[in-house]
Symmetry: D2
Subunit: 365 residues, 4 copies
Amino acid sequence: MRRYPLLLIFLCCLFHTNSVHSQQLIRKEIHLPDIMGYQTLKCDLHIHTVFSDGHVWPDVRIWEAFREGLDAVAITDHLEYQPHKKYVDTVSNNAYELMKSTAEELNILLIKGVEVTRKMPPGHLNALFIENADLADDPDYEKTLQGLADQGAFIFWNHPGWIAQAKDGIRWYDEHTRLVEKNLIHGIEVGNYGEWYPEALGWCMEKNLTLSCNSDIHEPSDIYREYAGVKHRLVTLVFARERTLESIREALLDHRTAGWFEDTLMGQEKWLNELFLQSVTLSKPFNEMDRERFYYLSNSSDVSYTLHIENEADKSLAPERIFMPANSTILLSVKGQKGSVVPVSYIVENCFIRGRENLKITWNL
Amino acid sequence: MRRYPLLLIFLCCLFHTNSVHSQQLIRKEIHLPDIMGYQTLKCDLHIHTVFSDGHVWPDVRIWEAFREGLDAVAITDHLEYQPHKKYVDTVSNNAYELMKSTAEELNILLIKGVEVTRKMPPGHLNALFIENADLADDPDYEKTLQGLADQGAFIFWNHPGWIAQAKDGIRWYDEHTRLVEKNLIHGIEVGNYGEWYPEALGWCMEKNLTLSCNSDIHEPSDIYREYAGVKHRLVTLVFARERTLESIREALLDHRTAGWFEDTLMGQEKWLNELFLQSVTLSKPFNEMDRERFYYLSNSSDVSYTLHIENEADKSLAPERIFMPANSTILLSVKGQKGSVVPVSYIVENCFIRGRENLKITWNL
Amino acid sequence: MRRYPLLLIFLCCLFHTNSVHSQQLIRKEIHLPDIMGYQTLKCDLHIHTVFSDGHVWPDVRIWEAFREGLDAVAITDHLEYQPHKKYVDTVSNNAYELMKSTAEELNILLIKGVEVTRKMPPGHLNALFIENADLADDPDYEKTLQGLADQGAFIFWNHPGWIAQAKDGIRWYDEHTRLVEKNLIHGIEVGNYGEWYPEALGWCMEKNLTLSCNSDIHEPSDIYREYAGVKHRLVTLVFARERTLESIREALLDHRTAGWFEDTLMGQEKWLNELFLQSVTLSKPFNEMDRERFYYLSNSSDVSYTLHIENEADKSLAPERIFMPANSTILLSVKGQKGSVVPVSYIVENCFIRGRENLKITWNL
Amino acid sequence: MRRYPLLLIFLCCLFHTNSVHSQQLIRKEIHLPDIMGYQTLKCDLHIHTVFSDGHVWPDVRIWEAFREGLDAVAITDHLEYQPHKKYVDTVSNNAYELMKSTAEELNILLIKGVEVTRKMPPGHLNALFIENADLADDPDYEKTLQGLADQGAFIFWNHPGWIAQAKDGIRWYDEHTRLVEKNLIHGIEVGNYGEWYPEALGWCMEKNLTLSCNSDIHEPSDIYREYAGVKHRLVTLVFARERTLESIREALLDHRTAGWFEDTLMGQEKWLNELFLQSVTLSKPFNEMDRERFYYLSNSSDVSYTLHIENEADKSLAPERIFMPANSTILLSVKGQKGSVVPVSYIVENCFIRGRENLKITWNL
């Protein structure tokens, strides 16, 4: 049967329609799986508002977090650079106070923090889970950090490869060694704004520091993404026992994090391996013809994965390269006798477990 | 020249880049949940190819089914109208034969069928699970249907409200009564191409017939959607024990189906109720202030739901109208003393369980 | 840390890619044609910042204007309602001062204004092209308006149908008559945020007042659109001799404006007629067969038009309804002897020239 | 004023809405400018249908051409490879005959052609503007080509770098020299399906042959794009005096063509230079501060341009790299004394005028 083109029907009681539609915020969840008994909380641990050099009122950060599927944000305005000071009362606890009720209403976990903004070394550092941001102003950065640590802060070194503070390349200073030894640095921000730093990923692994990956957002979110050239905000994945502030803090101290930067994941092998295996499902083989069989390979996550085969010898058996778009299923064709299943290893090009070293996974194909 | 699906080529170095990217079909799964111990198979039980009056070679229908997340399609070319006869060998089993190997390779279940294309009454009817389509040509439609039934066919009446055969409105004829009595009609196509028929939904419920909802596609899929004015192909949801042809057949005979037309679902109350409850999740309340509390309402399905409150009296308590976009979470605000949970009923405007009667659901809010 | 707009970075070689892409604002021009020797300037004459009850720093409004293809914005914070007063120095000229250099850099025309925010009547009014916003605080609204008029202000009544001030429906008060007589109201905001008021369009035409149509934006632009339920910001089209502030002022005083609300255009017949005719192009007829011929109908504007035929008698000749999607071409089929061209009139359902009266256009088909 | 979230309004006379929307094909014009007094016709000179090894009925190719903004297509089924022969009457003129009336109705210019499908050398060749495709079957390829030339054919060598016929790399054979000398090859297909061949672009320029760039489409268009990994179909731009078949033929013989492959343009310098200059508009400078001024740089075409500055010395003056997204405006910042305009040259990385040599353009900045 053929349906013939009918006319447009647009019945909106036209003469009475002068207003429109839904008027509510819509949240798009981030599809990244829970792993190993933990909830995978999506967190942005570095954000700014008009109370430092940002361009939005604090409540906007909560609206954005809700819409973008975040579980938690840390407010990290700084005291040292306050270009709006002429107009805004920049006491640093203000932004937190102004976000609190909106955060509660929209069920976003809000972490009180401050960015300590100093010359390199040691550069900028975020202190989270603090009591009072306004105490972060001692000209001696070590005293400032010690004061924040005394408040119970979790502290990480921000954007170590930021060109403005790393003109000759990213570099680990003696000062950082000292701060780590004094337990005044607990982590490193491996991804920031629109870039990430493989060297810093290496340092996290070598020195047993916690990785984070954050937007450092100053603008409204859509403008941030245009400036940063990213499709989604950078996210720190926190593997937490519960969706609570206390669980986030515990997870950070226990190094249970990974970073999500565009389609790149970075973090300890055990986390990335599980994220991959919980995201990507290999079906049973079907249509097992003489010497070829097929699988559905389904990726239920928001990350697109790119793989290449590890061993030259396996290329005659399985695809040399595999591209698995986010939230999609593809067909995998494997050669070989029916039933003759063998392990085949792939390098996951967009997952980094140590500097520029990639995750490796193995399927029985 | 024919280009065969190759592997991903991602040559970055500019001077060697003269070809591009991924070369594979990508499947987007349809997000509608399994219910009540059944798999929710997404099926299109009415499609055409060049072997009747369609515009594509049979294998295209399998590629499209894979890409669009279908589990099964029925090939239902007809013998009576064959405009390409001058050029194409229109023996009706040909299309099925030409689809089979592609269906196996892409793991799409392929149902052999035929459309019996007669004047109204009885109009057009699809016979599925047949052996030989070429026997469907007896000028006496009843003999044709009996012959197909003898082959074991499941038979349904197509597009009963199609304007070309229902100029004065949709109508149930005595002939249909007779065919039902003789067990030669087992179902009705309630949705077709770009429209659906509430009256036909009513008949399914009254007469205990199986509902189906299909594309009746003739064109390539993107052109079909433009002509039909739909965002996705019409789908028959089949609640099957397994993802097999036999399970589909058994489910059809047992009336375990629903129809999916844009954001409209139609079918028995028990199925729609479960589809809704498995798609839409109400969180625990949070931020329970003095006399207001909030919930996350998460819709993990591809259907956007529109609800209005049933009882006038509840409007002071809970939202009068709720719009839940597909694959999204919204915030629900409820008034009332902390802990004073009461049942609140909503009419689901886009779910039809009998003619124009809507599904009703109740939440403890 | 603040990221400054850098140049495009496009590092292909995988092992050195840890940052991304373009870092610049991208402007999408609005496609609505110049008409009758005037430039069609796209203006938003009603916006807010943190300096009244808005949620963004003033420069964001210029970034948004650039990105969304606007030519001009008016900053219209108010003195009467200042919820951020505890934190922000809400002297009303501040926002203007803070926007000026960004506006110059991005070539956005910036109009200094103020919103006078009073109870109904007279409700809220915007005064544009003022010198000093801080003089808008006399408790006697008439004195305030007179003071602004003395500064040379162009004044219009905002959102007359806003439910919070028009609970029993939109209404013209004696106070408005008096203000018009005293030359203290020059126009009416017919569209605002996510709604528009046909009655107010009627008043503009009857009383010879200037129509405007504005966002009244408080949030970042993407969140505004989600709350308002609109796909694009509301825009006042100003038909100006030049792209200058003075030309805008002159055009406003001369009633050379129209409103753009989703796919709805509202304004004087002469403007809408020309906007339509410059947007929609009818090709020469082709394929003139015996009694049918075809045309391309091309819509080069961002507005989708919906038409229905005026005269019953013409339905046998030309399509009863026409839907022309934005930036698209469709095929028009017309019956009739070759060469027998006749005028056919259509009602343009989405163009309003007086209250709910639609534009009519005629083609020789 | 703040508009409070209202409820969804979705008035569709719900109980009467069971069908949907527009039912027509929608054409999206390709935005590439006319140049030098010629119309820039968008042509695909290489397509297939079920009458060779394609997967769609011939009329689909016209629907697709209309929707995708093409002006002309050439039907180029081949005689040598006919996998559907068992079912389809593959006389090669059939496809053309079946497309003709749809082409006339949708105003698409239809070129009758045939693909001569031989081993390399000479590989595959398309002959356009022929009378009878069925004469293209002489086993001696030269005789076949001579016969087609005698019909008045314009002949070009297809996909010279296709891996299946160029396993050791793209190569010019003596046979091609002979065919050119005998006037049996007039052009080369520099782009095909999902790849293009810089060497072939060089040959076009050296040997004064006409460049073409075509889809070689076999599947429905959306599936073709997925397989080929392209966002739009490959297009031959023909600079023609009129939108007629005769003008296309004349333009092809006069080498007035360019190729459009994703964001890559390839062709003679004079064409690409004009395409660029007619697409990209530099505004007058504004905001000329002490030592910096700004321009709007507007790209009204569907091609995104990527430029880098030619001379090291100019980097202190103007941006080193410029990325101009399709259909967008960006801001250009230039240093230097007010009024001190100097010529600055840029290499256009996505425009190729000879092998891998890029177009260069110069602006007075």
